[in-house]
Symmetry: C2
Subunit: 549 residues, 2 copies
């Protein structure tokens, strides 16, 4: 049986576009004598449509899309994913379904059983869980068709309080009793830097446990914060990688099941910073492409974060589509401008130098009577950051460039950033990358692209340059210590006492944890953040603002 | 049996505070010969702790709180709610539990079956669903102890695609077989202006269906966006209101079950604007009190939204704790200042007039070369809104006042607001109130408080005053039409074609829907919005930014 793995990039909600894309691949598959084309989870509407699923008109639109695909599937079999109506009187409105189409007819609909409802996933918000298990018969073979998490009844855990067995049932334990010949899994499984390996491990685990080959099809591309890396593959009966699609790229892969034992692929998954780099590039690219945007603008401060953001923007959008604004104040060091200019010129990026001094003085004079008798404090620092924020937004308004936020995860974590100032932006590129990882990413980029980021930007001590001789280390622990604490608290969800067992000072830990908790209100208003870790700020981490803990 | 309904206001995450409060009520109950004290759902940690539930240390802290309560419950029975560990190997980590304590011992733990996972609710994110049904025996009576949604297997629906029967099981159908004498329901049920009535209806429906009285205990107070109105009550066997607590206020109510037929209370639930007014007052009050804030600052523009916001702030925080900033530009009408001054003086609120012209000119000159040859457009309008945003934040930074956002729901809906400008604020007071309802609320306030809001502010045509002679109606349909469309699209989740059946023009509808969809990116960065409707922007409405539909 010749199976085609269709690893595609869909637009959420754009059913017409997605269906057209799917039909083109089906048409091409027919020319190549493919027996069965497999598309990914919810491919008709894109993953995840979120509350669009609460619109009946949206569900009907998806159904129309399915009908179109069915009518184009004569002489071939196709698996697509979409939300379908739960016709039972009780339970949620919808199922997350995989439809098996054979020769222009719907042969069977399989519904998802295990509905991920944790981190960035909200599937039980919309979908009823399946409890009927059935097998697909096709060309003399029996197929166990499963949807994403249905193979993940045993979870990979990150936080110390995460569960391995998150669900009461294991769909494959039911399906195996129906004697399938192989497993197909269609997924909408987003990227994190440890997910590619985890996914591979889960698939191999299932292959070995049930002694059945798996055909796995995931989507690629990015939808706002979520980045999909693909990693579609075939795992042979012995648990080896029989075929694989590229990461982060659309690919059509035809695979002959009978030949499964004749091929062998290496199973190396790229290193962390290579993965993060590629993910962020896709994240930026699709944020712009899927909204019809072309050009980006960002503030280039002379620091590492804006430098790495610009390098990524240049690689994702092309240097001709990126503009850098250098916005010095009286507190900016000379080298900040020199380094920024050097970087912009190296990247071939248009830049403008806009001195904020006149505006800053305007604020100072406007406030002179109201602030009379008060000391200079964070107010004046924030005003500078906010003037820069306005300038970026004004440039964006006037010329249509989209503002990229340049904050990193460490800053967002401790609130070392100004709301409506340097927190501005339509998209945060590095908001899920800790400061120490931003440096590693800079090294990766410099190795790959011949020192795009000037050395001076990498070696200088981090500073916000909002008052004379300011250094980040005046207010924060050194970043290697800070990031260790943050990772333990945020990703691993350890309490201070447990973190202290690693040898870090409890006083420092408590202070960092306090800063994290105190700045929920800032993160609430942060831009969407490209997610590259197992616990990013934003949708996947929901901490109350008004709370004590 | 003498039962005490304890309708209290808890602080999310502040276990020590909540437990102290609970123990005080138990101690007092003992003095009043109460047999059983009933507290609300998750009272030990407050509702809802969200992802704090992912910290093991937090769960252990709740358990310690329970232990303390148990040890203080000699000679009395107590029902409290908290998250407890799921000791089974499979399923989510936690249960949402009600603990029945009797004479210093835990007699029984009842877990929640129906886990609301829609709108603002995410309970299946944390909790496993109960499937074991048991009854409490106490003083010769059998009690069916249920947790909130366990009585809501049949839902009140709002959206046209909402489900009445959202769950596969009905816990009371199981419990009724165990022959209970009455039902206790402990809840964490947030306010919306139609919820008080719905809740009452659901309780009465259950009483009649199972022919059992219900003791219902809900919490009060606000936690960030969510406002809890209480409405704790006893519904007698005939479906009449036998006892009730006040709305929006802490109250301890002792009720003798044997006497249930001797009393009768009227069942009137206040009118919509009275409810909204009270809800918003609690929302503001608790946002400040629970974070230790006292003072608020807001921009007073001369328009209806900032006027109503100020009136509410004054009533919630006291006039001595509110500061109004009047920030005229060259486009501000004279009457805007006159009306604002009149309002501030009427409210007894301190105000400052800060002309933004010098700063605006600073931006104009700073941009003169970069913007050379371009036309004035929305850029210059946004700069004014953003200067005002900076001024408010600077005032906040310098003097510690919290910025109140003054945008209304209609503006947030169509994106008729400036990010990092008038969208600024720590809390949006009117962000869930449509413009037409803001007027109604103004009338309510003026009736109640002797025309606090000057008539001229109410009758003038709405304008952003960002360019000469600007009116909202230049860019938007009249608000009565706009709000009808918005309500149909957002609350009812109707598609344009369906909305058009009400007689509104399809062209206008499509344009409004397009504006709503296009401004998801703005709302993503909006402040937390006090929720008063069944579908507020924010946590309860999750629409993807990068999407076409």
């Amino acid at each position: 049986m010749k199976i085609r793995l269709a690893q595609l990039n869909y637009v959420v909600g754009d059913v017409d576009y997605n269906v057209k894309k799917i039909i083109e691949v089906i048409f091409d598959a027919k020319q190549h004598s493919v027996d069965l084309v497999v598309f990914s989870e919810l491919c008709i509407c894109g993953y995840s449509p979120l509350d669009l699923l609460e619109y009946k008109s949206f569900i009907l639109k998806c159904k129309e899309g399915l009908d179109k695909i069915v009518s184009e599937s004569e002489g071939i079999a196709v698996i697509v994913g979409l939300p379908t109506l739960n016709t039972n009187y009780r339970g949620k409105n919808l199922y997350n379904s995989a439809v098996f189409i054979n020769d222009g007819q719907v042969q069977k609909i399989i519904n998802k059983t295990l509905l991920p409802t944790y981190d960035v996933f909200d599937e039980y918000r919309y979908f009823e869980s399946n409890d009927v298990f059935d097998i697909i018969e096709f060309k003399g073979e029996k197929i166990a068709l499963t949807i994403c998490e249905d193979l993940w009844d045993e979870q990979m855990t990150y936080g110390i309080f995460d569960r391995e067995m998150l669900y009461k049932t294991a769909p494959m334990d039911k399906l195996i009793k129906l004697n399938p010949d192989f497993i197909i899994n269609i997924a909408g499984s987003p990227f994190s830097y440890n997910q590619a390996q985890n996914r591979r491990d889960i698939l191999i685990k299932n292959v070995i446990k049930y002694s059945l080959p798996i055909v796995y099809v995931n989507q690629v591309g990015a939808n706002t914060e979520l980045i999909f890396d693909g990693g579609s593959c075939v795992i042979g009966r012995g648990g080896y990688l029989a075929a694989k699609c590229k990461y982060f790229k659309e690919e059509i892969l035809d695979f002959d099941l009978e030949k499964e034992n004749n091929e062998f692929h290496d199973s190396i998954i790229h290193d962390k910073y290579c993965l993060i780099y590629n993910a962020l590039i896709v994240g930026i690219k699709d944020f712009f492409a899927k909204q019809g945007f072309k050009k980006a603008v960002l503030g280039l401060s002379g620091g590492i974060d804006s430098a790495v953001t610009m390098a990524l923007a240049v690689k994702a959008l092309g240097s001709e589509n990126v503009v850098a604004l250098l916005m010095p104040s009286i507190y900016s060091s000379e080298h900040s401008i020199i380094d920024s200019v050097e970087m912009a010129e190296k990247c071939g990026v248009k830049y403008e130098i806009i001195n904020i001094e006149q505006i800053r003085l305007g604020f100072e004079e406007t406030f002179s009577s109201i602030f009379k008798g008060t000391q200079k404090d964070i107010t004046e620092e924030n005003i500078q950051a906010r003037i820069r924020g306005i300038i970026l937004m004004a440039y964006s308004n006037k010329f249509g460039h989209i503002v990229l936020n340049t904050s990193n995860k460490s800053e967002f974590a401790v609130g070392y950033s100004t709301m409506y100032g340097d927190m501005n932006g339509a998209l945060s590129v590095l908001g899920d990358v800790y400061k120490t990882d931003v440096y590693k990413l800079a090294e990766y980029i410099n190795e790959k692209y011949g020192n795009l980021i000037p050395k001076n930007i990498i070696i200088k001590a981090p500073s916000a340059e909002l008052r004379p001789d300011q250094k980040d280390s005046d207010s924060l622990p050194e970043y290697d210590i800070l990031d260790k604490i943050l990772f333990s608290y945020i990703e691993l969800r350890q309490c201070p006492e447990l973190i202290a067992k690693s040898g870090l000072e409890i006083k420092t830990i408590n202070e960092v944890v306090r800063m994290v908790n105190k700045s929920e209100f800032k993160r609430f208003q942060a831009p969407p953040i490209l997610r590259i870790s197992s616990k990013a700020f934003g949708f996947g981490r929901r901490i109350p603002i008004v709370a004590k803990f």
